[in-house]
Amino acid sequence: MPYPAQRRFQSPSFALPALSATLALSLSLGAQAQKVETISIGVAVAQTSNTALLGQEQVIGAKFAEKFLNGRGGINGTPFKLVFQDTGGDEAGAINAFQNLITKDRVLGIVGPTLSQQAFASDPIAERAKVPVMGPSNTAKGIPQIGNFIARVSAPVAVVAPNAVRQALKLDPKIKEVAVLYAQNDAFSTSETGTFQQTAKDQGLTVATVQKFQTTDTDFTTQVTAVLNAKVDLVIISGLAADGGNLVKQLRQLGYKGLIIGGNGLNTSNMFPVCQKLCDGVIIAQAYSPAQGSAANQVFVKEYTAQYKKAPPQFAAQAYAGVQVMVEALKVIDRKKKLNTWELDDLRVELNKQILLGKYSTPLGPIAFDKEGEVIQKEFFVAQIKMKDAKTGSFVYLK
């Protein structure tokens, strides 16, 4: 087979001139306004650093969207392209990734970044350059308010968490005392725990103890002892997969028998290897469930499962939804005026306008946006973990 060998030989020598050519091109074409040549959408998520645990799922979701939506005709027959830039886990990385996407890759819009803290640093850059941003997993308060060009598909925690508490009360109406635990160094968990505590009070429950931990902790003896001493009937945990899983495990091992609610950060099968059989019965608040009944979601779940041999996780579904919203908005614009006749800057502004106007049927269910860019999502889910054996389990949707 001479062809693959030849190809392998050629690729590095080909890559260098191409690279310098694009560099020269991007330098020389500088300031003057330019028509839109290729339809590219930027994806800036954490592909490296410890945030990559979430970012990798987003990459898979976005790549799946590119393949699947292009397979269905792309933007009225023209395929679109995703450009990935790694943000790493810090603010400077997110700003650099955004700058690259805006000026070098000349994307129409950006899906990203992964963390809310990164969004507070990088979104003002896009706002100033008038490039629409769709946050796939930024759940902190104040994200859409950064500017007109900032929207998100990730529902803020305030709306997801209360459902789980109501569901727990349905399972065991005798619950009176609650212990709340949260990861104090995680932005998502700290805002989520506020909602959980408020909901518990609104439902007439007593918050007997509030315990803090760090996402990097592995030993939770202090927190578990405090919970056991408080003699509670319900434990609510806001954390991430590894720490949350360990906490569940140690609670059970030290003899806690009551119900456990896990926040949205525990909505991932990455937790199963950590607490194994002891994960069983944990109630999880979900912003996305593969059980969501819409046709859009069922096709997504079927295709995704066929390709990756597992049901899509929440971060993948949200990243998919982010890309889908941009593509559908572009389709509408394209029908009015062909995309390749637009000036890049005008198209970015128009895309932002169209994103906020449209209604989308995504795997998250039907969604739309208010005029600030906040997602309006109708359905949230509560699931209970059922473990089949030590390694495999599933989220069983609770009605």
Binding site: L19, S26, L27, L29, G30, A31, Q47, T48, Q85, D86, D90, E91, A92, I95, N96, Q99, N100, I102, T103, K104, S116, Q117, F120, A121, P124, I125, R128, A129, A140, K141, G142, I146, Q184, N185, D186, A187, S189, T190, S191, K212
Partner: protein
Amino acid sequence: MTDFLSTYGFLIVTMLQAGLLGLSLYFPLQAGQLSLASPGFYSLGGYVAAILLTNPAFAGLRDTLGNAMFPLTWLVAAVLAGLLGLLVGVPALRLRGIYLALATIAFVEVLRVISLNLSITGGAIGLFGIPQPFGIVDRWQYVFIFGPLLILTLLFARQMERSRVGRALRAIREDELAADAMGVPPTRYKVLAFVTGAVLAGIVGAMSAPLLSSWNARQGTFDASIAILAFVLIGGSRHTWGPVVGGALLTAVPEVLRFLADWRLVINGLVLVVASLYLPQGIVGALEKLGRPRPPQRPTPVKPAEVRP
């Protein structure tokens, strides 16, 4: 040119910033003190600026001062970092070598956990929506803020090295006991060097808060301590330019190599390993050696003349 600046402008600014943070660690190192406390003061400075610039309690002050508010944040950050440096430095600098390093790591962690638990610092989310100083619209314009500070710091470091203080610091670095015996009070000079570094890190933090538009507890972490230490060691710990070169290089490498995707981190690691293996004096140290004339060599022994009978 505008495209280049808007793509890489932010990177250039972060290179300057890294150099400045490297210098803040270089000052105590001049007295032979391995302190990893810089990110703590950097984080403190950033919080001071972020609170002064966003907290509603200071709205009146902001309105009356306008742009003069920004230099005020630098000043307040410098003073607070200096005071905290004094407070931490006096007991901590009784420790030496690795123990001082451990104590300063603990200090950074303590500050981090405090900032996570206070409501004025915004907890884990931190503070956001920090306004831009002096009508800055693009991130590259921060060169005009960080650049002058870097030049001033380099001049200051040069003058200090040539002064009595610089000689005292070097004496302590080489042999503390001998320096003490010669009448150089080690504690006073060590604290002085430590506080100088703290003030610099505090000012850099106060300037960085608007640069990132947001500030949170992830700015001052153990990871940052190690990164800053790497700037100094790779650049060269015995030369003023060392931390600047090291900081700029290690910040730029992963960004300039962005097209290599995940491989860029491998290259970054390689630079670290190769530089520390083959350039023990750092990059600047190695360059300096090149410039110096070779030390005189022992002449090759002349063969004794053959004596024929």
